[in-house]
């Protein structure tokens, strides 16, 4: 599990060093972070490398065409270009996990992933969990039944991280599940009830 996460952070042979270099080369990520990129045509676009900008992404089972800047993170693309605002940007540096999505079923911090690197991969966000008829995913239903989360800002990230973890370990005990979602912060710190809800959701998933 751990190895697969690490590998998928470096897609297509891209090392962490290459990731950072590509961002620096694009020259548009300031120390304070860029959370909003404008419409296509706005903002700096200079890049030393020729990168295809019009991508087709597989998001929640749908093929979405989108114009992507070379330095654009998946969080920026999903939130600002595809309108999928369920994931949150709590820190923009891979510390809080609020932006967690599944990329090929593996939990990833969307703030720390270049959109260019997920071409051809399957992306699942919180908006893709419930059925089109509105029926909640059993994981969501479990949390709902236990009144999990308080402010809810961290909830989408926790749910996606849990889903990825349960794919590997569908029968966790509380401690194992806590470790599985320990990359996600909740500042309301309602961890006890969150875990209860997630465990209930895992139970529902096993019954489906």
């Amino acid at each position: 599990m751990h190895a697969s996460i690490v590998e998928s952070i470096r897609p297509a042979g891209m090392t962490r060093r290459q990731f950072i270099k590509s961002v620096i080369a694009a020259g548009a990520v300031s120390s304070s972070g860029l959370l909003f990129s404008g419409p296509a045509g706005a903002g700096p676009k200079a890049s030393p490398r020729v990168v295809e900008r019009l991508l087709t992404l597989d998001v929640n089972g749908q093929r979405r065409r989108v114009d992507v800047l070379p330095q654009e993170t998946l969080a920026q693309t999903l939130r600002h270009k595809l309108g999928l605002t369920g994931l949150k940007v709590g820190c923009d540096r891979g510390e809080c996990g609020a932006c967690t999505v599944l990329v090929d079923a593996v939990p990833q911090y969307a703030c720390s992933l270049l959109t260019q690197s997920v071409r051809g991969k399957s992306i699942l966000t919180i908006e893709g969990l419930a059925r089109p008829d509105g029926k909640l995913h059993p994981l969501q239903q479990g949390v709902l039944d236990e009144q999990g989360f308080q402010c809810g800002y961290c909830a989408p990230g926790f749910l996606m991280a849990t889903l990825g973890f349960l794919a590997v370990n569908p029968h966790p005990n509380r401690q194992e599940l806590a470790h599985g979602v320990s990359g996600n912060l909740c500042r309301c710190q309602d961890y006890d009830k969150i875990l209860t809800g997630l465990m209930r959701g895992a139970e529902y998933m096993r019954k489906e």
């Binding site: 548009a28 300031s30 120390s31 304070s32 972070g33 860029l34 959370l35 909003f36 990129s37 404008g38 706005a42 903002g43 700096p44 309108g83 999928l84 605002t85 369920g86 994931l87 949150k88 940007v89 709590g90 820190c91 923009d92 540096r93 510390e95 809080c96 609020a98 966000t125 919180i126 908006e127 969990l129 419930a130 909640l136 969501q140 949390v143 709902l144 039944d145 009144q147 989360f149 308080q150 402010c151 809810g152 800002y153 989408p156 749910l159 806590a178 470790h179 979602v181 320990s182 996600n184 912060l185 909740c186 500042r187 309301c188 710190q189 309602d190 961890y191 006890d192 009830k193 875990l195």
Partner: protein, 831 residues
């Protein structure tokens, strides 16, 4: 068909349910402030001060404004002057000349905003920030309150270093200078707070006499940390103007109360402001009205003639997102042989930050008088200014600190006197209408509405297995030391006087218009269960309207100070009773007889002597519209708050409109308490430790929503655990620059920091001074858990082994090997 003539029949209240906001939170459809979008929206970035105290001497914006895509730049001289405010009694409160403003030309801490840029995207805004031509004159600065109190120490502001009481009655507190003598520092030594002059003090009883007759007198100094709020949602607001009205989607703990706060800072009419805040990503006191930063996008939007989004970066949030002030306390406490606290002399120095006076030190004194019931007490305090970020109320301001300062003192006294630490908590615990300091002008003390913390200690001790754990043999081998601790916490837990507003629609549904903010405690919804119960309405027939003042909301309390469930359940009941009275009057006018001939139940108003004769709520609502006047909101009763009157006028004619102000009696001040029990296991080889068990037992009156209540107990206990174990500021004192600016440096607790076994309980005795019996629970768990863990660590490591929280690995190792304990900076606020 049951009559529901009782004032309040709790069919829904006290039971779990799914709150109306939860599904949206779990599906990603909940819209927080930074999820809003508007056509042509610009984004805003801040230029912040690189220095801890400076004056801007040169500012040239021409190059920045020439950056393509930049639409406007806002500077401090464009801010309107803050408006004076008017108290409930009509007295004018002058705007403070020392108040924080959204932007400044004399930054008082590193990270304070100087100007703001609006541009088509963040990259462009960042480029413009880089292009600003600015120069500063560095001014003297101070990071640590004791450094400022030393002879010759720097002042954080050019006009002083402390808040002083008003010079004359009716005036505002003012800033002045306070220095302690070298002799006072010398006399105290490196590990004790000097007993210098304070700026405020009060006392009751004969303190020195109490200390003189004590069997044991302890003289303890302890330091609590500066801790930032660090809400996961950074300060966010989207502002746009339509027809002269400001619309603001903002992450705020409060909804209707954010309007007058924004109006004050923008110096404009509150009727021209619409606040949208359906969801807020954490507040903890840092976003009670979230108003200071929110006016930046408001003014930029006006200037740029386009919607503007401010979405603070994590680093900016650390600077402007508020923090709990550190306190340094010195407590001389005299105990009788049985552990009773005979006299308490308490001095608290608070790291106030550079702006508005914080009340943590003052609250620490007030709550000490309640929590430990000293027979005689003196409190002295000083709010010392430093060039560090603006402080604000954080969960149990003063309540966290008083438990951390005094809880371990009680435990130490128990060990010295050969008593059970539980027994010394119990003998000093408040009870019933317990007295609360400070004394009133006539010398008497205030009284709590009710306190049942002794019951909480008893129940909690049983649930935790205190005695069994106390006498459990120590680990026989290895490097593990075990310790247990018990402590109490308290905080204010209720206010009165707000409005409830309901509409029974012609479809027979109950629409509840509440101005309570939604920050995750669920009290915006939980309190309304009372209104439904008052009308015997099934929850499925109820709809809550919240989070948008454009949807006509009732005047409600701020969501801070754990007052909401108390204040707004009373307001909901008042409105529910108004609806009942109107239903009966309508039935009497329609069907004959007197209102008292009718009863309410099963969504009908019906004759007591003939249940088949009556009106459904839907029929009564239609009849209310026909009758008009007070029945459908065309007339608003006297005594309703002004904001609610406006809402009622807008809702007039939509159905049976019920509106009432909470005028239920209350005698005393409302407080909630928690008793917490903790067990730790410390590895003395590595300094690492685990919290193996924590039990929190509440005394917060009637539990309205058990799952939400449990979440507050657990979550706020975790906040206390963070203060005890890992959260604090680090500063480069030479340059006045914060080192801890991100999560990995400030280390808020993760899910792996939870106690291995967390349990909770509630005494559940209703508060007799409020009809529902409920008090707030959001804050007292914090101090109780923090102090219980500190006491457990003392139990494991011994007394006098650390003098500050948090207790991190270095402190544990220093406790085990005192020879390596650092001697320097022992009393510094940020190390």
């Amino acid at each position: 068909m049951a009559d529901n003539d009782a004032l309040f029949t709790p069919k829904l209240t006290g039971h779990n349910y799914v709150t109306p906001d939860l599904r949206a939170k779990l599906t990603g459809s909940a819209r927080f402030a930074d999820d809003f979008r508007a056509e042509g929206m610009l984004v805003c970035k801040l230029l912040t001060s690189p220095l801890p105290h400076a004056r801007v001497t040169h500012l040239d914006l021409r190059t920045a404004l020439a950056v393509p895509g930049v639409r406007a730049i806002l500077t401090a001289d464009e801010l309107p002057p803050p408006a004076d405010s008017v108290s409930d009694s009509g007295a004018v409160i002058k705007a403070s000349p020392w108040a924080e403003r959204a932007l400044t030309m004399e930054p008082l801490y590193q990270g304070e905003p100087i100007l703001a840029v609006a541009a088509v995207d963040e990259a462009t805004a960042s480029a413009a920030i880089e292009a600003v031509d600015i120069a500063y004159e560095a001014l003297p600065f101070v990071i640590d309150p004791l450094d400022s109190l030393r002879p010759g120490g720097a002042n954080a502001r050019t006009d002083g270093n402390v808040w002083l009481p008003p010079a004359r009655p009716g005036e505002r507190p003012r800033i002045g200078e306070l220095k302690w003598s070298a002799a006072e520092f010398e006399a105290a030594g490196p590990d004790r707070l000097p007993l210098g002059k304070a700026t405020n003090e009060w006392s009751y009883g004969e303190v020195e006499a109490g200390l003189a007759r004590a069997a044991l007198v302890l003289d303890e100094t302890f330091i609590t940390p500066n801790v930032s709020h660090q809400a996961l949602e950074t300060r966010s607001a989207l502002a746009w103007w339509e027809n002269g009205k400001l619309h603001l989607a903002v992450g705020s703990q409060s909804t209707v109360q954010t309007v007058p706060a924004i109006a004050k800072w923008l110096n404009m009419d509150a009727n021209d402001i619409v606040v949208i805040s359906e969801y807020t990503g954490g507040g903890f006191g840092g976003k009670i009205t979230a108003s200071v930063a929110a006016i930046i996008p408001a003014l930029l939007a006006k200037k740029a003639r386009a919607p503007v989004m401010l979405r603070a970066s994590r680093e900016d949030e650390q600077a402007i997102g508020r923090a709990r002030p550190s306190t340094i306390g010195r407590m001389r406490a005299g105990f009788a042989k049985d552990g009773r606290l005979l006299g308490l002399d308490m001095l608290v120095v608070m790291d106030n930050g550079p702006y508005e006076e914080q009340f943590d030190a003052l609250m620490a004194g007030r709550l000490a008088s309640l929590l430990y019931q000293p027979q005689a007490m003196r409190w002295r305090g000083a709010a010392v200014l430093t060039n560090t970020p603006t402080r604000g109320a954080q969960t149990a301001p003063g309540g966290l600190q008083v438990s951390a300062l005094l809880g371990p003192v009680l435990a130490k006294a128990a060990r010295r006197l050969g008593l059970d630490p539980l027994a010394i908590c119990r003998i000093n615990a408040p009870e019933g209408r317990a007295p609360v300091g400070p004394p009133k002008p006539d010398g008497s003390l205030n009284a709590a509405t009710s306190v049942f913390v002794k019951q909480a200690l008893d129940r909690g001790a049983s649930a935790f297995g205190w005695q069994a754990r106390r006498f459990r043999p120590a680990p026989a081998k290895g490097t593990v030391r075990r310790g247990i601790g018990v402590a109490t916490g308290c905080f204010v837990a209720g206010t009165v006087g707000f409005d409830g507003l309901l509409v029974i629609t012609p479809q027979g549904r109950l629409r509840i218009h509440t101005g309570v903010g939604n920050l995750g405690t669920e009290s915006f919804s939980d309190a309304q269960r009372v209104a439904a119960d008052a009308l015997d309405m099934p929850w499925e027939a109820c709809e809550i309207v919240w989070g948008n003042t454009g949807r006509h909301l009732a005047w409600s309390c701020v969501s801070g100070g754990s007052q909401t469930i108390h204040a707004m359940s009373r307001a909901a009941l008042a409105a529910g009773l108004d609806a009942r009275a109107k239903l009966k009057e309508i039935a009497a006018q329609t069907l004959g007889g007197k209102p008292e001939d009718y009863a309410i139940g099963s969504q009908r108003v019906f004759r007591r002597d003939n249940g088949t004769q009556g009106l459904s709520f839907a029929e009564a609502a239609r009849r209310a519209i026909e009758l008009g006047g007070i029945y459908d909101g065309h007339q608003c009763p006297a005594g309703i708050n002004k904001a609610t009157q406006t809402a009622v006028a807008a809702l007039a004619g939509q159905g049976l409109v019920a509106v009432a102000r909470d005028t239920f009696p209350r005698d005393g001040q409302t407080y909630s308490h928690v008793a917490s029990f903790a067990e730790v296991e410390v590895d003395i080889e590595t300094g690492m430790y685990r919290i193996t068990a924590l039990h929190a037992e509440a005394d917060a009156g009637t539990v309205v929503h058990p799952r939400a209540f449990a979440g507050q107990l657990a979550g706020r206990s975790m906040l206390g655990i963070g203060h005890a174990t890992r959260q604090k500021w680090f500063y480069d004192k030479e340059y006045g620059i914060p080192v801890s600016r991100r999560f990995y440096q400030s280390r808020p607790p993760t899910i792996l920091c939870c106690p291995e076994h967390f349990t909770w309980g509630s005494v559940g005795i209703p508060d007799p001074q409020t009809p529902i019996g409920a008090r707030g629970i959001g804050e007292p768990p914090t101090g109780a858990a923090c102090a219980a863990v500190l006491c457990a660590l003392n139990d494991a490591l011994g007394d006098d082994t650390f003098l500050r929280a948090p207790v991190m690995v270095d402190a544990v190792l220093a406790a085990i090997e005192p020879a390596i304990r650092p001697a320097a900076d022992n009393l510094s606020a940020n190390v």
